[in-house]
């Protein structure tokens, strides 16, 4: 009997390496901005200095069999036993509402930049706006909502402090004062009451519901304030309530298969923070998200659409998902004014001055968009880059 136990232990201990080499099982990938080490090049110099051994250790660590499962086990243990989130910057609030730390800092104003810096930034925004207007182009600034402002009641007590003037307050103040074109969804969604949640409990971006409302508002703004009056619009038939989990979403995708009918179901990840924890099991009591079932009018031609360039943070993805690409003839996206993402939301390279100039030259509408969580760096140097290159 003991020999059987010993042999069983030996076989079990070999399984991670066997999986690494032979890949018996398909492993569910981990969620998040994850860098996996590649197999190092062997050379004697690196071996003598110890660098090769370190690289091999990291490579095996990142690629060992069942690693994704083991990471989930560890994360689940830390979450379930110690209430400890294992994604960088994630905070567990009251009633398990998840936040990112920067959203709370921005809400309380603990990371507010000096007022003169923000004022300076908005002055530059106005200057850029005027220069673009002279060329027949429109600059629009959009403030996406912040979870701190939408759900301050769930912020954990240990993170609460006296609310001071915030990056958002100052950006809004100076944008309005100087007459910068502004659509402020943070104010809109935090002050009004809505039928469905505008922010998901376990998500860090606006919900599918609030995204469609925002997209609707943006479309109407463009039609009213630019020469592009014939851009397509959409009509919402209803909202389907569905937990933002794979099973539920797959059912809706099947039900509203757009190859068979006009009504669209587009999915937005309302569970990205939950996914980002990389747990073994879904979080408790995931509230259903309200996914719009909507239909775009088909009587439009892309030729009458503007070329849209959008510069900003990850809140762009929600607008893209609900049709920003549909109202653009050519759509360009610069993630944090650094990475170029193409029409298919894939990274395609880094921004440089030539691409900066040529893209702006071709664009009709330029949107600079950011959520409250990244408001401390709003613009990400876009206005400076424009003034430098023009």
């Amino acid at each position: 009997m003991k020999k059987i136990i010993a042999i069983s232990i030996a076989l079990i201990l070999c399984m991670p390496y066997a999986q690494f080499k032979l890949k018996f099982f398909k492993e569910k990938p981990l969620y998040g901005d994850i860098q996996i080490a590649k197999s190092p090049n062997n050379n004697w110099d690196d071996y003598w200095s110890g660098i090769l051994q370190e690289k091999i250790n990291i490579y095996i660590n990142d690629n060992i069999g069942f690693r994704n499962f083991l990471v989930r086990v560890r994360n689940q243990t830390k979450y379930s036993i110690f209430r400890k989130p294992t994604a960088n910057g994630v905070i567990i609030g009251k009633e398990n509402y998840l936040y990112e730390g920067s959203y709370i800092e921005n809400y309380f104003g603990t990371n507010t930049k000096p007022a003169f810096e923000i004022k300076n930034n908005m002055q530059k925004a106005l200057l850029v706006q005027k220069q673009l207007e002279a060329k027949g182009k429109k600059l629009i600034m959009i403030f996406a909502p912040g979870k701190g402002s939408i759900y301050p009641q769930y912020i954990p007590d240990k993170m609460k402090t006296t609310k001071k003037i915030t990056n958002y307050d100052l950006h809004r103040k100076y944008a309005i004062e100087f007459g910068v074109n502004l659509i402020d969804f943070n104010k809109y969604f935090s002050e009004k009451r809505f039928k469905y949640p505008v922010y998901p409990k376990y998500g860090i971006h606006w919900s599918a519901y609030s995204c469609t409302l925002a997209m609707d508002s943006l479309t109407k703004y463009i039609k009213k304030n630019t020469a592009f009056t014939e851009i397509p619009t959409f009509k919402i038939e209803k909202y389907e309530l569905c937990k933002p989990t794979q099973k539920c979403v797959a059912e809706l995708q099947k039900k509203y298969d757009t190859t068979k009918n006009k009504s669209r179901f587009d999915y937005l990840d309302d569970y990205d923070l939950g996914n980002g924890l990389n747990l073994l099991f879904d979080l408790d009591a995931i509230p259903p998200s309200a996914f719009p079932i909507y239909e775009w009018n088909t009587s439009y031609t892309m030729e009458k659409n503007p070329n849209i360039l959008i510069v900003g943070d990850s809140f762009i993805w929600g607008l893209y998902q609900f049709g920003l690409w549909r109202i653009s003839k050519e759509y360009k996206y610069w993630y944090y004014n650094k990475e170029i993402w193409n029409e298919h939301i894939d990274k395609s390279g880094l921004l440089n001055d030539d691409i900066f100039r040529t893209t702006i030259e071709k664009s009709d509408i330029i949107i600079v968009l950011g959520g409250e969580g990244t408001m401390q760096n709003f613009g990400w140097g876009f206005y400076d880059d424009y003034l430098r290159t023009h």
Binding site: K2, W48, I64
Partner: protein, 475 residues
């Protein structure tokens, strides 16, 4: 290669042992030797040659000692061997320290410093040098004959489970086992060794690594800004870290040795339950204490010296050397001296005082003394260490921006519980049940399942330790 690394746990450990059990007995020792060379060459690729060269030289020097006909010739080769071993240790471990301090002295008297390129310390040098010395001295003292088989000697020194961090094993403790264990192989040793290995791994990964974060943050915080509360918590965290890290490593070494049929000596015996510093050193790093007693204290005269002053000096000196052995820095020397002073005080009157007070009180006092000693062991400078100790006893309510989460408190409490639970008879029985004796079939199944669970939880922690991504990349 450290035992708690992914490459060791998922590659070296399972495949080494599987092959070990499969190959013929006559090949096992050479196989272990080769694996040990690979193990050391992985972590210290250049120094493997140094260790192979010095062990080769030592082997022949010791044979010459044994076969020398005259006493003077024996002494000569003994001195040669001692110079080789201690010289190696001195050069790699202590030269930097002496040159730095000498240069400091030269600076104060206005003389130009000596140019010196810092020497890198080969991993494990303190441990295998001391083992080499036991072999040399014991052959000289005719405690045992030298080995005829060069490979067996190499195996004794380079045996990988104990090469990096002990236990320090005297040759005569293991000599019979090198060949004799092969005819006594048992599955109980394999399983018992595996369980011990996993317990050691768990001590390190769950307790030591968890409390280490707080210990590091506290000791790096800046003594002047620490509150009294934070100072006590940080000190306690380090006390648990060093014990569970070191004893965990010893458990892993002893466990792996047992899996090969070796019975290494124990290195820790619930040291924080000691009721005096004297007792502490019979329970903490036992093999080092044993080495110091046999090769330093006794040659200096031990307890047999005529004067009390000489006795106290011997005690204090041995601990000064112990401190210095731990590291080439004044803080380690001070730590050794600190323990030496308490040993002397105990001989003078403290032991008599402890005998008159409840045992728990003497345990508590000893624990505090040991804790304070660890502050000197951990700090970079003696003045900082004194500053830290002052914070412990002069109440300071500075707000310290250190965060203690639930995981830290849980592991700290578990650490304290495991450190002291053998003060009760119930705790002693549990320890005996886990570590002592042979398991029944039922108990083996339960232990195997528990240890596999712990093993994979440790693996999960280790592989995830570098996993802390942002959900979205940001600039």
């Amino acid at each position: 290669m450290i035992f708690s690394s992914i490459i060791f746990l998922t590659v070296f450990f399972p495949f080494f042992f599987i092959l070990y059990y499969v190959i013929p007995k006559s090949w096992k020792n050479i196989y272990v030797l080769l694996a040990s060379i690979v193990f050391y060459a992985w972590g210290a690729p250049k120094f493997i040659f140094a260790i192979l060269a010095t062990t080769t030289l030592d082997f022949f020097l010791v044979k010459t000692i044994y076969h020398s006909r005259t006493h003077s010739r024996r002494v000569l080769f003994l001195i040669l061997s001692l110079c080789l071993n201690v010289g190696m240790l001195f050069y790699f471990k202590y030269c930097n320290f002496f040159v730095e301090n000498f240069n400091l002295f030269l600076s104060t008297i206005g003389i130009k410093n000596i140019a010196w390129t810092k020497v890198v310390l080969p991993i494990g040098i303190s441990f295998y040098t001391f083992e080499s010395l036991t072999y040399v001295v014991d052959v000289y003292r005719r405690v045992h004959k030298p080995l005829n088989n060069f490979l067996q000697y190499q195996l004794y020194i380079i045996l990988f489970p104990k090469l990096i961090a002990g236990p320090i094993i005297r040759y005569h403790e293991i000599s019979e086992q090198i060949e004799g264990r092969l005819s006594r192989e048992s599955v109980d040793d394999v399983l018992g060794g595996f369980y011990r290995f996993v317990i050691g791994l768990s001590k390190k990964v769950f307790i030591a690594n968890s409390v280490a974060l707080v210990a590091d943050n506290t000791f790096n915080y800046g003594v002047e800004n620490l509150s009294t509360q934070a100072a006590w918590i940080g000190m306690l965290a380090y006390t648990m870290q060093i014990y569970f890290d070191f004893s965990g490593y010893s458990d892993m070494a002893i466990g792996m040795g047992r899996m090969m049929g070796f019975r290494f000596p124990e290195n820790f015996d619930n040291p924080y339950t000691a009721g005096s510093i004297t007792e502490f050193w019979r329970r903490w790093h036992i093999t080092l204490g044993s080495w110091m007693r046999n090769y330093l204290y006794i040659p200096l005269g031990g307890n047999q010296v005529k004067s009390k002053i000489r006795l106290y000096f011997n005690l204090w000196f041995v601990f000064l050397i112990s401190g210095f052995w731990h590291g080439a820095a004044w803080t380690f020397i001070f730590w050794g001296v600190y323990h030496g002073v308490f040993l002397v005080l105990e001989r003078l009157f403290l032991l008599r005082l402890y005998s008159k007070i409840p045992k728990l009180l003497s345990v508590f006092i000893t624990f505090i003394i040991v804790n304070i000693g660890w502050v000197f062991f951990r700090m970079e400078s003696i003045s900082q260490a004194f500053g830290y100790v002052k914070k412990l006893f002069v109440v300071n309510r500075n707000y310290t921006y250190l965060y203690y989460d639930n995981e830290f408190w849980t592991m700290l409490i578990l650490g304290i519980l495991f450190s002291f639970f053998t003060l009760s008879n119930y705790g002693k029985r549990i320890q005996q049940a886990v570590f002592g004796g042979v398991y029944s079939n039922k108990k083996s199944i339960a232990m195997a399942m528990l240890c596999l669970l712990l093993y994979f939880l440790c693996l999960a922690n280790i592989t995830s330790s570098s996993f802390n991504p942002f959900i979205y990349f940001r600039f």
